[in-house]
Symmetry: C2
Subunit: 423 residues, 2 copies
């Protein structure tokens, strides 16, 4: 990717640190992804996207900006992509899945904080993320204490707009959230210089729903035994969903699903039929955080669903397409996002119910709960998950881990023991 050097330099990247990152990724990707057995051909596109993660896609963003377009970065599935897109903007998920720039981040953050937060602060402060440096605005939210307070600091380095996500799902919370969505729409109009129209918003809602539908189609295919695609590859696609071009991505996921349809018909899978089936749940796994899924799928199990923000929570609800007026459309957008079973909500009973349902629907043998270190919302909520799954006699393994590899051996031992117990 050396031909991007000029672009990266013009973005103000720390070239040396960025080079180190780019050198570290391909061997990891090779070991984790390219050594998997029986990978579908349709993954070539996604391999290509990862290979060009800081190259071609960044170039596209720059071309978009040169044509007057705006780029809006986000860290959370609560930021309504429909609205950004309807105003001609591009919405991208920002880098936060790798231990990088920690020395810089720890100058402004406590040591004992969730690695995802430390990662995004490190990326920004050390100037290693070309997505971050392409953003005209970053949108934060109040889904957890660490992010909420870290956005105040991040705002020293890049303009951050914070959306207040409510903490319950009652009428008053829906009203508050609707006002947040309306404010966001106004802000996006100001930032992009483009007014939202009923036509552009309706189109954008359909397109983003189309992406969600393609991802749901992929998810549905994983209900088969043998599973036609690995959990690792599915997670990768879900991660890419957050920064790739919407229409192109949707098309490629559907093409892949066409291929998987055939595999299902012929009974082909990535692992033998009867392989223990696991659902992963917990904190988001931002790219390139593949640690736990890799350990699981090299320990004799297949992941059949991710009850994660980088997973089902991102695509299982659609925005209703029945509205004709702007107000009603924004209400539909707001309503869709409050359907997400995030641990910001108390209680988050929807998540527990959904998990039990998923275990049945996907014919899973067990659940692995992964919380990032120091993530209070999910680490504490794990107790609720444990309670409900115990009542349903569903085996559960609880893991807390960060982005480093120090505990990989110990985790592998625990995961292998769990899977053996399922088998």
């Amino acid at each position: 990717m050396s031909n991007y050097n000029e672009m990266w330099r013009s973005l103000g990247l720390n070239m040396e640190a960025h080079d180190r990152l780019l050198q570290a990724l391909p061997p990891t990707y090779h070991d984790v992804y390219l050594t998997q057995p029986n990978r579908p051909q349709g993954l070539e596109y996604f391999d290509f996207v990862v290979n060009e993660i800081h190259g071609l896609r960044i170039q596209e963003l720059q071309e978009h900006k040169q044509n007057g377009g705006k780029v809006i970065g986000a860290f959370c599935v609560f930021v309504p992509e429909e609205i950004v897109r309807a105003a001609g903007g591009i919405c991208i998920g920002l880098c936060s899945g790798i231990d990088i720039g920690a020395a810089e981040a720890e100058k402004v953050l406590p040591r004992n904080i969730c690695p995802l937060i430390k990662s995004f602060m490190g990326f920004k402060l050390a100037k290693i993320c070309p997505y971050f440096e392409s953003c005209d605005m970053v949108v934060g939210e109040t889904t957890c204490d660490g992010k909420k307070k870290a956005f105040e600091i991040l705002n020293d380095y890049v303009p951050v707009h914070v959306m207040e996500t409510p903490q319950m799902k009652r009428g008053r919370d829906r009203e508050l959230w609707l006002e947040e969505v309306r404010d966001f729409a106004r802000l996006v109009e100001e930032t992009t210089g483009n007014r939202l129209t009923t036509e552009t918003l309706a189109k954008s809602i359909r397109e983003v729903n189309g992406k969600r539908r393609a991802l749901r189609r992929l998810a549905e295919l994983r209900k088969n035994d043998p599973a036609p695609i690995s959990g690792l590859d599915s997670l990768l696609i879900e991660q890419i969903a957050m920064y790739d071009d919407v229409e192109r991505f949707t098309g490629k996921v559907n093409e892949l699903c066409d291929e998987l349809d055939k595999k299902v018909q012929t009974g082909e899978g990535v692992f033998p039929s009867g392989t223990p089936r696991v659902i992963v749940t917990g904190t988001p796994m931002a790219i390139p955080n593949w640690k736990v899924p890799h350990l699981i799928e090299t320990s004799g199990a297949v992941i059949v669903a991710e009850e994660l923000c980088t997973g089902l929570r991102y695509f299982e609800n659609e925005v209703a397409e029945d509205a004709g007026a702007m107000d009603a459309m924004l209400e539909n957008v707001a309503a869709r996002y409050l359907g997400v079973n995030c641990a910001v909500f108390t209680p988050n009973t929807g998540r527990m119910e959904r998990l039990v349902q998923l275990v049945r629907e996907y014919n899973a043998d067990g659940v692995i709960h992964c919380a990032l270190s120091f993530c209070d919302p999910y680490a504490v909520e794990a107790n609720r998950v444990e309670k409900v799954l115990k009542e349903e006699n569903i085996p559960l393994l609880k893991i807390e881990t960060g982005y480093d590899q120090e505990d990989a051996g110990q985790l592998k031992t625990r995961i292998e023991a769990f899977i053996e117990m399922l088998g």
Copy 2:
């Protein structure tokens, strides 16, 4: 206090564990409190209250309950005491300031969680807190992730009502909070069986304001050099404010202030004039968490104010007494609580402004920021405090610590070096 055994047994306390706690407290209290020089006489009452912490006050609660009264427990300055009191209830702050019942708590909570949360869960699960066991209801809030999610678990053991504290202070947040306060008033009416009237609420607002005024009078006296009372003793009084009888407590604080008035006139103080003056800010210090203040005041400084929830945030704002109708009164109550500079709010600029103001008003030489381990709201917000104080050339020491004593030596070294720098 052996004559309370029957009462404690009837409350279902774990007598053995409770005995161990009762045996541990007096030596600590002696070392930290009773060895202080030049203590005002008016502290005798507060020493007595601490000595009877699980005795006489619990007996009063039991008598109140035998007469049909209700007891409502809380963990946060956001729970409106006025409303509980107006309905004939007693509102008490619950035990959370000591490392106890950790083995029990860690069965339901992650290891790496704020010690205050682990403490209250430990107290409940190990059945060591007679206040907890006296509660008809516990009121939680959504001020931080850890508490918010832990209340879901606590609700398995005692009925918990959670108030949704908003995360900003705009119109929509005020509306949401006002609805929360109205709901709380209705719930308190149901729980106590007593309707709120404009008379009872007005009276209760005046009484709780009276408590706040007495505490403010005490705070004002600490602006003098030499300070007429130690920070440790002031903190103790602020801690006791949360569970003692409102009227009696107010009277005793005012009596103490009469004594301190005279000391100020004669220039008497607890430490010599010119002793470095420090303001403590950060996470609440629940009784008996006196670790850092004790280290500070045995290292050559005097604490002149606590910008804490167990401090100024608890009493510096009053509920306006100008309303005649119930609705307007509840609006005044709601408005008062949103004036608290809690780190739940983003941004929490009011706290930064207030801190700078306090340093001037109290003629402080420096600020010590204490965050409990794993407390994201305050540990991350410490960066904002640092930024503002640096701009104002106000020295700052940042501390993160738990309830154990393991780091006491290291903390003392850091605190001594900081104070030496101030002197």
